[in-house]
Amino acid sequence: MKSYPMQLDSCFGTKVFSKTLKSLSLAVALALLPLAAHADQLADVKKAGELVVGTEMQFAPFDFLEAGKQQGLNAELFAELGKELGVKIKFLDLPWPSVLPGLEAKKFDVVAGPIIVTKARKERYHFVSPIAEATVALIAGAKDDSIKKPEDISGKTVGAGKGSAQLEELKTFAATLPEKVTIREYVDNNQAYADLAAKRIVAVANSLPNISYVAAQKANLYKVVQPPFGKKSYFAYLGRKDADADSLIAALDTAVTKMHDDGRLAALQKKWLGAEMDVPKGDFDPTW
């Protein structure tokens, strides 16, 4: 111990502290400078021959691993989009809270997710046409008879993914119930499902496609609480909202619409989400 003490740093006086703050604020000031470079993102992607997609691999049935291989709707849908654009697709797996900051830092071209289109998000990001319905519902314990309809969560503890639109929807719904609902926020949904199995919470709020898949996989553990409590909403992929990104999003939009028309999208929905879904084509106004 004596030969390598973990010494207290006596020199960390206020002066150094304030200096540090100064240099940090300098870094911030630099960060605020607008980026000068103007380019066409579609051209860049085509030049590189590769579209980099940020996603989270813990979002079945859209993205998940099976025996170490990526599976789900996203992989197959993007494979089609890649064909349309004539580029290869490269997926990058990140924990959900890192995905949007990563997009803004230009770590990848688009975000798969997919994520629910909301008004606030539409102001910040550029969405591609929706690919699935995302209305929020509850999943509860298979043998829990106390939860038969969404209103039964009144006075109980419920979970949702941290920083998700589903969480916001749940909060809004909970506020309408007679008794206070305790809401736990999970870094990823799977921990919420685990806690549901451990009976710490009575239900988890998530979009219908996700919980339908989970309940189908583990019918002995979970059941979907019908009907969905949320307003009708949709899942979509998204990109950055700046001038250079416009060309790329437009190209993807065209490709999705094409898949819409020729039935490829419907086939994928049926394969992964259990049923065809009626989703708006092109731009639409989200309900919230």
């Binding site: 030969s3 010494q7 691993l65 170490g68 924990p95 890192s98 830092a105 799977n190």
Partner: protein, 219 residues
């Protein structure tokens, strides 16, 4: 409650991920070691400004959680015009910078443990400051601090469980992904713990062996 076929299926995937974890940890230890020597000797420099500089480095990189540092490097440095690095590079840079702060403190302790007379003797023989650092101080300090450095390696391997926030599929992230699709949370996490032990328990054993040997030599 254990599902053996699944375990056999997942084990090779985790083994691959363990390799990723080891690669970034070893790279970070090597780079962190160099940073540690520089910052550690700055902390002992006779020039007050240099001492301050070393102190500030340690203050920042030891005071901010690694998770936040990693996010900063990955997402915000590119915005201020610094190169847009790959996930692997971001993980290595983040881990090295933090490891450098800890190793600097270890090395400072090691440098201080070298009797001053030795340096006076070296100075009288005409060795330059850098020669003294590389030929006399570093070799001895490393010998003295080897157990602490092994310990630091263990801490680094554990700390690397956070690198998934920059998009690197390390051991922890892989296990989490597996758990998310097979819903065997406990089994997958126990396996994850087992894989960390696979590396760290032998390392810890080496560390205590080295510590005992050092104690015998100096006693």
């Amino acid at each position: 409650m254990f599902d053996w076929p699944l375990l056999q299926q997942n084990a090779p995937l985790l083994l691959d991920a363990l390799w990723v974890t080891l690669q970034v940890s070893i790279a970070a230890l090597a780079i962190g070691f160099v940073i540690g020597i520089v910052v550690g000797s700055l902390r002992l420099s006779p020039v007050p400004l240099l001492r301050r500089l070393g102190g500030a480095y340690i203050f920042v990189f030891r005071g901010i959680p690694l998770l936040v540092q990693l996010l900063f490097i990955y997402y915000f440095l590119p915005r201020i015009g610094l190169p847009n690095v790959s996930p692997t590079m971001a993980a290595i840079i983040g881990l090295s910078l933090a490891a450098g702060a800890y190793i600097a403190e270890i090395m400072r302790g090691g440098f201080l443990a070298i009797p001053g007379g030795q340096l006076e003797a070296a100075g009288l023989l005409g060795l330059s400051t850098s020669q003294m650092l590389l030929r006399i101080r570093v070799p001895q300090a490393v010998r003295l601090t080897l157990p602490a450095l092994v310990n630091e390696m263990i801490l680094l391997i554990k700390a690397s469980s956070l690198v998934s926030v920059v998009g690197l599929a390390d051991l922890t992230r892989t296990a989490q992904n597996l758990a998310a699709s097979d819903y065997m949370f406990i089994q997958d996490y126990l396996m994850l713990a087992g894989f960390y032990c696979l590396i760290n328990v032998p390392l810890a054993y080496c560390g205590s062996l080295l510590e005992r040997r050092l104690k015998e030599q100096t006693a």
